[in-house]
Amino acid sequence: MSKYSRYVVADSSKCTGCKACELACFAEHNKKSNGVGFTVGTVEVPVTPKLYLTKLEAYCMPIQCKHCEDAPCLNACQKHAIYRTEDKQVIVDENKCIGCKDCVMACPFGAIAILPKSEKGTFKLQKDKEVVKVASKCDLCEGIEGGPACVRVCPNEALQIIDADCETLAKNIRAAEGLYASRF
C-alpha cells in the first residue's frame, strides 16, 4: 500500500479542452444514484463533474482534488463530513455535509464545489423547497471498477494518477542515471 494518497494531475501540453473528462466523471458518479447510462438520452439531472476544465491564456487543463496529506478541507469541516479512507483518499460524506462552504474556503485549489444533490433523477428539497446542496469533489472514483473515469477517457492521455512515492523513486533513478552518465 502506498504511503501517500494518490491523485490525478493533467498535463497541460496534451490537454485540448474537450471536456470528455468532465462528462465521464459525471456519468460514472450518477450511474447508480441517477440512472445515467451510456447514452446521452438518459441524462435528466444537471451535469455536475468533480473536476473543472480551466482555460487561461497559457494553460488548459482540468483541476481536481489533490487529496492533501494535511487536508485543509478535512480540518475545516466542523460536521466531520470529510474523512480519509484506508487508502488515504479524502472523501466527502454527502449525507453528513450541510453545505456550509468552509471546505470551499479552505481548499487552495478550488477543487470543491457546492452542488445540488439529486437521487433517482430528482432533487432533494428542504422545508422551504430550496434544493439541498452539498460539497462535491473528486473521490478518485472510489469503488468504481477501472479507477478514475477521467484518466480512462482522456483521448490524449493527458491525465494520470500520481503516486508520490513512485514519483520520488522514479526521479531519484533519473537523477542518478544523469549523474552517472555525466562522469563520462
Partner: protein, 566 residues
C-alpha cells in the same frame, strides 16, 4: 496526404485552424505530433489550443491572412531557402508570383497584420528548413471575402519549398463541416455533377443524359449564398427563386445576416425542410419531412483527406421516418422521374460508374480497406486509392504546380466610431454546427447552453464596465443579440468572437452576407464590425433570454420534460 499522417509530421503549420474546438479528434493527432518532437507554427488571431502549444504563434490581425503568407514567401525567396530544383522541374508561373511577393517585406507586413517582422522571419525560416512540413488550414482562411487567394498562396508556400507528393507534407483543408468533402464529391455544388464533372462540359452532359435517359441543363446553378439575392432583389419572375428545398441545413441560423435570410424565407412561395429535428428554418417551412439521423442509415462518407468510408446503421429509426435517399426517390417519382433503388450500394455503384475518379471505390473495397482515398480508378483490388494527390506530377493538364498569390483585399466592413470592435464567428467544443443535433442532447446542453458567450479582451470589458458572465447586447447595423461576456486574454483588444450555434445569442444576426469570395462564394463570417453594450438591468435581461428560449422551444414543439418543465 492523409489525416493519420499528421502524427508523423516534422512541422505543422496551422493556419486559421482551431482543431481543439472544431475537430478534437484531429487535434489529438497534432498533440501526438508535438509529443513526437514536431515543431508547431500557428497563425491565428486568438490563443487557440493549437496556438497555445505552438512553438511559434503568429497572432495576426483578423482579415490580413494573405499579407502574412506573402511575407513568409518573401523571406523564403530573399533568403534563398527555396527548393530551386522542385520549382524548375515541377512548377509554372514562379516569376509572376515573385513579382507579387516582392512588396511584402516582413516590415511592410507587420504594419498591416501586426505580427512582428522578426517573428515572420523566424516562422518562414523554420517552415522552409523543416525536412517535411504540413500545412493545415481551416475556416480562418476560407470564411473571408478573400479566401481562395489565400489557399492558393499557402499552396505556393508549399510549392516553393517542395513540400508535395511525399509523406507528412502538402496542404490540407481540414474543412468546416463533417462530410462537407462528401457533399462536394457527390456533386452537391451548383456547377458540378458528382466527381467534379462540370455541368457545362457537353461530353459530361451527354454521358449523364444517356445514363439517366433525360435532357439535362448545361447551365450552372445558383450558389447557396446567392439565394437571398434571387428572392429579394431579382425582378424577372423567370429568374426568381420560388421554391426552396432544404435538407440537413438550417440557413435561418447558419447563414450570414439571418435577418435577410428570414426575409427571403418568408417571401419564397414554397419551402420544404427535411431534417432530424425542428430548427429555426422549420419555422418558415410549408412542408416538413422528417428523415433519419447519421446512425439510422447506411451510406458513404468522405473524410477531408478524400477518403471514402462506409457508415452503417446502428439503431432503428422511429416508425414512418425515411432515409434521405428514400425520400428523394419518392419525390422524384412523384415529379415524373421514376427513381428506385434497393439499397445504398446500388446507388453507389451507379455513381462510381459515372465518375472515373471514383470508379474503383467499390463497397467491397471500402469494407476491406476501411478507407479509400480517391482517385481510385480501377475496380481491381490492387488499386487501393491515392494517398498523395500530387505525387511525381500535379493534377493540372501539364502536370505542373501553378504558383499564384494576390495583393491584399481588406475585409469589407471594418471598425468605425459607431461600431468600434471587430466581430468574428468561431467554434466551440461540445456543440456541433447549428446545434440541430447537439442542442437536443441534454448532457451537452448541460455543459454549455443559451445564450452563449462573446469572447472579449479584459481591457475592453473594463472600458465598457462589464464583468465576466454579465449579459451584454452585441449589435451592428444589421442586427443584435444578447449573450454573456467571456473576458479572456486569449483574444486581442478590439476584437470579439462568438460561436454561431446559439438560438438566442445568435451571432449571425450581425454577420455580413454581401462580401462573398468571388470563386468559392463563401461569406465573410470572420469579419465585420460591432458594438458591445452593457445591460444595466441584468435580471430583466436574464428573464428576456429565458422567455425567448422557452417560447422558441415551445413554437418548435420541443417536448419539455422532467426538471426543465416549470
Amino acid at each position: 496526404m492523409g489525416v493519420p499522417e499528421i502524427e508523423d509530421a516534422k512541422l505543422i503549420f496551422n493556419f486559421g485552424y482551431n482543431g481543439a474546438d472544431s475537430h478534437p479528434i484531429v487535434q489529438r493527432r497534432i498533440v501526438r505530433a508535438k509529443q513526437k518532437g514536431a515543431t508547431i507554427i500557428t497563425a491565428d488571431p486568438r490563443v487557440t489550443e493549437a496556438a497555445r502549444i505552438a512553438d511559434i504563434h503568429l497572432q495576426l490581425k483578423g482579415g490580413t491572412n494573405i499579407v502574412l503568407v506573402n511575407a513568409m514567401c518573401n523571406v523564403i525567396y530573399n533568403e534563398g531557402l527555396v527548393d530551386q530544383n522542385f520549382i524548375d522541374t515541377m512548377t509554372n508561373d514562379y516569376d509572376k508570383f515573385v513579382e507579387v511577393i516582392k512588396k511584402y517585406t516582413p516590415e511592410y507586413a507587420e504594419g498591416i497584420c501586426k505580427v512582428p517582422a522578426d517573428l515572420i522571419r523566424k516562422a518562414a525560416r523554420t517552415y522552409a528548413k523543416a525536412p517535411t512540413a504540413m500545412i493545415l488550414y481551416g475556416m480562418g482562411v476560407c470564411q473571408f471575402g478573400q479566401a481562395v487567394d489565400v489557399v492558393k498562396a499557402l499552396g505556393s508556400l508549399a510549392l516553393m519549398t517542395g513540400n508535395y507528393g511525399k509523406p507528412a507534407s502538402g496542404i490540407g483543408p481540414v474543412r468546416g463541416q463533417n462530410n462537407v468533402q462528401g457533399a462536394c464529391d457527390m456533386g452537391a455544388l451548383p456547377n458540378n455533377y458528382p466527381g467534379y464533372q462540370p455541368v457545362t462540359n457537353p461530353d459530361v452532359q451527354a454521358k449523364f443524359e444517356k445514363a439517366w435517359g433525360v435532357k439535362l441543363s448545361n447551365k450552372n446553378g445558383i450558389p447557396l449564398t446567392h439565394v437571398p439575392h434571387y428572392v429579394l432583389e431579382e425582378k424577372d419572375p423567370n429568374k426568381q427563386i420560388h421554391a426552396y428545398y432544404i435538407f440537413g441545413e438550417d440557413p435561418a441560423q447558419s447563414d450570414p445576416d439571418v435577418g435577410e435570410v428570414r426575409e427571403a424565407l418568408e417571401k419564397i412561395d414554397f419551402v420544404v425542410m427535411q431534417d432530424i429535428f425542428m430548427n429555426k428554418t422549420g419555422e418558415f417551412a410549408d412542408v416538413i419531412l422528417p428523415s433519419t439521423a447519421w446512425n439510422e442509415h447506411d451510406g458513404v462518407y468522405s473524410c477531408c483527406d478524400r477518403g471514402f468510408q462506409r457508415i452503417r446503421k446502428v439503431v432503428e429509426p422511429p416508425k414512418n421516418v425515411k432515409t434521405d435517399w428514400e425520400i428523394i426517390c419518392e419525390i422524384s417519382t412523384a415529379m415524373g422521374y421514376k427513381m428506385k433503388y434497393k439499397d445504398t450500394e446500388e446507388i453507389w455503384n451507379e455513381l462510381i460508374d459515372l465518375c472515373p475518379n471514383f470508379a474503383g471505390a467499390t463497397y467491397e473495397k471500402l469494407e476491406k480497406l476501411g478507407s479509400v482515398q480517391w482517385p481510385c480508378r480501377s475496380k481491381d483490388m490492387s488499386d487501393t486509392g491515392t494517398v498523395y494527390l500530387h505525387k511525381g506530377k500535379f493534377t493540372n493538364p501539364d502536370g505542373k504546380g501553378k504558383f499564384y498569390t494576390a495583393d491584399w483585399r481588406p475585409p469589407k466592413e471594418v471598425e468605425n466610431d459607431e461600431y468600434p470592435l471587430s466581430f468574428s464567428t468561431v467554434r466551440e467544443v461540445g456543440h456541433y454546427s447549428v446545434r440541430t443535433m447537439t442542442g437536443n442532447c441534454r448532457a451537452l446542453r448541460n455543459l454549455e447552453d443559451e445564450p452563449g458567450w462573446i469572447q472579449m479582451n479584459p481591457k475592453d470589458c473594463e472600458e465598457l464596465n462589464i464583468k465576466h458572465g454579465d449579459l451584454v447586447k452585441v449589435l451592428n447595423k444589421r442586427g443584435w443579440c444578447i449573450t454573456r461576456c467571456n473576458a479572456t486574454n486569449r483574444v486581442e483588444k478590439g476584437a470579439t468572437y462568438m460561436t454561431y450555434q446559439w438560438w438566442i445569442g445568435c451571432c449571425n444576426e450581425l454577420t455580413i452576407g454581401s462580401n462573398l469570395d468571388p470563386v468559392s462564394n463563401t461569406p465573410e463570417y470572420k469579419y465585420c464590425n460591432c458594438r458591445v453594450e452593457r445591460l444595466d438591468d441584468q435580471k430583466k435581461a436574464w428573464d428576456f433570454v429565458q422567455n425567448e428560449y422557452q417560447d422558441l422551444r415551445k413554437r418548435m414543439g420541443i417536448r419539455v420534460v422532467g426538471k426543465e418543465a416549470k
